[in-house]
């Protein structure tokens, strides 16, 4: 069979062009991300200092700091994890260790996937209907935390399930062989091995929750509160909502721009830190688990 010589050149040229385009696009996307990060860092760095992080906003939120928003976000993250972590981990244990293969397990997994796909504004609507109105919490830290907790639930469930799945079955069999019960095996053998990965999931969930705005719009977030919340029934400020209001709906949008850059920078920094911790945890413990 005689193949046209020209085809070889065309093949080579086509490949060079397409690979060049693919490489260019990839670097372009990564460059775009770095640009966004760099842009926010550059504009925000000048604003963020110790004082900015620890003082109240003043002058119609065009000056001062974001202390109450930071505290509010900490409360909300803590509160949501208090709910999502235990429930999510136990749900993950159920799915991977207890549920038998079949329709029921598929249903539970499908529901978890669906929950993960529910848009965050729906969580906001739901939180308002259930926690704020039906249960009578009003707009409060507890209503907001529970709403965010529900949003974080599928993330925790899925990472727990994945972590448990990666624990080799021989560990379980070895424990059963020694006469240990199923729950004891899970508690003493399986969970400790899977723990670093579960924690990684938890940390990523923290990152996700700390940046969510839509679910807290109507369940907890306050436009401006010059004091810290005193109970879980209080409203509070939160970083993402703060960024939203001072960048869109204030009366002095231009004057509050630096404050907005500062807040955006803090939010981005939280995400960066969370991802770095997660990566370190994965790397550090990833090796250890393998060694066992």
């Amino acid at each position: 069979m005689i193949f046209p010589e020209s085809n070889e050149r065309r093949k080579k040229l086509g490949q060079a062009i397409m690979f060049g385009i693919a490489r260019g696009i990839s670097y372009g996307i990564v460059g775009l991300l770095l640009l966004i990060l760099f842009f926010i860092a550059k504009q925000g760095m000048g604003v963020v200092n110790w004082q900015y992080l620890t003082s109240m906003p003043t002058d119609g939120m065009t000056k001062g700091g974001i202390y109450p928003a930071i505290v509010g976000t900490l409360y909300l993250v803590g509160g949501s994890m208090l709910f999502a972590f235990p429930v999510g981990v136990m749900a993950g244990i159920y799915v991977n260790e207890y549920a038998k293969e079949g329709a029921l397990k598929r249903f539970v997994k499908t529901m978890t996937n669906n929950l993960a796909g529910v848009p965050s504004i729906i969580f906001g609507l739901f939180g308002m209907a259930l926690f704020v109105n039906q249960m009578g919490f009003g707009a409060s830290i507890i209503a907001g935390s529970l709403t965010l907790g529900l949003l974080a639930l599928p993330i925790v469930i899925r990472t727990t399930e994945e972590s448990l799945k990666s624990v080799d079955d021989t560990f379980r069999q070895a424990s059963y062989a020694l006469g240990a019960s199923k729950l004891y095996t899970i508690r003493k053998v399986v969970l400790p091995i899977a723990l670093p990965n579960i924690l990684t999931g938890l940390i990523l969930a923290v990152g996700r929750v700390s940046g969510e705005t839509a679910p807290i719009l109507f369940t907890v977030a306050a436009y401006f509160l010059p004091k810290l919340p005193s109970s879980i029934m209080d409203q509070c400020m939160a970083l993402p909502y703060h960024l939203y209001v001072i960048s869109t709906s204030g009366t002095q949008i231009e004057a509050s721009r630096p404050m907005a850059y500062g807040t955006a920078f803090v939010l981005v920094a939280i995400v960066l830190i969370v991802n770095i911790i997660a990566a370190l945890l994965r790397n550090y413990f990833g090796k250890k688990v393998k060694m066992n």
């Binding site: 093949k11 490949q15 397409m18 690979f19 385009i21 693919a22 490489r23 696009i25 990839s26 372009g28 996307i29 990564v30 770095l34 966004i36 842009f39 235990p86 999510g88 136990m90 749900a91 244990i93 159920y94 799915v95 207890y98 539970v108 499908t110 529901m111 978890t112 996937n113 669906n114 929950l115 796909g117 529910v118 848009p119 965050s120 504004i121 729906i122 906001g124 609507l125 739901f126 308002m128 209907a129 529900l150 639930l153 599928p154 019960s181 199923k182 940046g211 705005t213 839509a214 719009l217 109507f218 993402p240 939203y244 960048s247 907005a260 955006a264 939010l267 981005v268 995400v271 991802n275």
Partner: protein, 396 residues
């Protein structure tokens, strides 16, 4: 030891209960969303506590919310055009009434309002009035209340106007919001899919391991950045850019929304399709190379077709994310609830509408319920998308 006989079953049951938590939460979301959303259809679009009145001899017995709005916007000025007599429509306002009648005639607590209305109606039979029910119901002789239909589901889904606070009757049609959402999401995916696919091909097949180990975490980081930060970035960078580039009066447009949402959809598309590309068996790639195909030919003709269902899933997932995205859409699309007919125009998406209006809608009122009904529509769309993704990715 004995204690464990009691604690173990307890914890095992607790684990089981938690196992069903996500199903339970989905169920609760459906119940609460739909309970509020469905009750919307039991509401009259006329403002609560008020009713519309016309002369008893007026053959028009029933009005559509759209007609009411046109009448009060003075787009319809003659009863003839809506099936009545050839008679100009007179909009009776409270001011006019208090000018025509002295305070004593009306009474200090407007207790004589019905009588005044009756006489006014008689003198001007083309009149339509909008008054509090408390002072009028059952007391007017020459006037009759106009029936106004509740907003039916079909009307809600097809009406092309969204004026939730217009008086006397609100118009609530999902169409402009739905089309706004679809327009923004469609173009977001149109931008993001080719770029994302190219990047996933680069990461899965072209880049060597060292480059990949650097690029991958950066792209994953992109997924972690909060949407409000993207919205803010869009607001300070993309919006002015779009405004300048197309010389527009405002930069908050569907296009700006599509660009920001495209950036946000990229990490989802890249990771999901890269995973799909990586499932191609090595021997299949080798078989292609062994036939003298170049690496690029192998990618284009074997690897991408093999991963097609995974790539489709990535695209659908990306659309789902874009449709549900709230904050970024709210901050950069300009939020004007009109039927979109250009990318360079402000539009409004469903999630952005809920976020922007729920805070102002009176609790349990028509508007409040309407936003929950919007939530139901959004929930349905994302549910279908999720099931579609599951179906597509289970194909192999």
């Amino acid at each position: 030891m004995d204690l464990r006989r009691y604690t173990e079953p307890f914890f095992e049951n607790l684990i089981k209960v938690c196992g069903y938590s996500s199903g339970f939460v989905v169920l609760l979301i459906v119940i609460f969303l739909f309970r509020e959303g469905i009750s919307f259809f039991n509401f009259s679009p006329v403002e609560k506590g008020y009713s519309l009145w016309v002369h008893s001899n007026n053959p028009v017995k029933k009005l559509e919310p759209a007609q009411i709005k046109d009448i009060f916007d003075q787009k319809i000025t003659n009863w003839k055009s809506i099936g009545g007599k050839d008679e100009p429509i007179h909009l009776l306002s409270f001011d006019e009434l208090s000018q025509a009648y002295s305070p004593t005639q009306l009474g200090p607590k407007f207790e004589h309002l019905p009588r005044c209305l009756d006489s006014f109606m008689d003198s001007l039979p083309g009149t339509i009035g909008f008054f509090p029910e408390a002072q009028t119901v059952g007391q007017l002789k020459t006037a009759r209340e106009v029936e106004v239909d509740k907003i039916a589901l079909s009307k809600f889904l097809t009406d092309t106007e969204w004026f939730p606070t217009s008086r006397p009757a609100a118009r609530m049609g999902v169409m402009p919001l739905l089309l706004g959402t679809m327009l923004v999401s469609f173009f977001a995916i149109l931008f993001a899919l080719p770029l994302g696919l190219a990047a996933s091909i680069y990461l899965a097949e072209i880049a060597d391991e060292r480059v990949r180990k650097i690029l991958k975490p950066i792209i994953e980081l992109l997924a972690g950045i909060p949407s409000v930060v993207y919205g803010f970035f869009g607001l300070v960078v993309i919006v002015p850019f779009v405004q300048d580039a197309f010389n527009l009066p405002v930069g908050e447009t569907a296009l700006s929304g599509s660009i920001v949402l495209a950036i946000m959809a990229l990490p989802t598309i890249i990771t999901v399709s890269e995973d799909a590309l990586r499932t191609t068996p090595r021997s299949m790639k080798e078989a292609s190379l062994a036939l003298g195909a170049s690496q690029w030919q192998t990618i284009r003709k074997v690897i991408v077709p093999y991963a097609a269902s995974g790539i489709t899933a990535a695209a659908i997932l990306g659309i789902g994310r874009a449709i549900g995205e709230t904050m970024a859409a709210l901050m950069v699309t300009g939020n004007s609830a009109i039927m979109p007919h250009s990318l360079l125009q402000p539009v409004r998406t469903i999630p952005a509408t809920i976020a922007a209006e729920l805070g102002e809608a009176p609790y349990d009122g028509l508007h409040f319920k309407a936003l929950f009904a919007l939530g139901c529509v959004l929930f349905f769309i994302t549910l279908i998308i999720n099931l579609l993704v599951e179906r597509v990715s289970a194909k192999r």
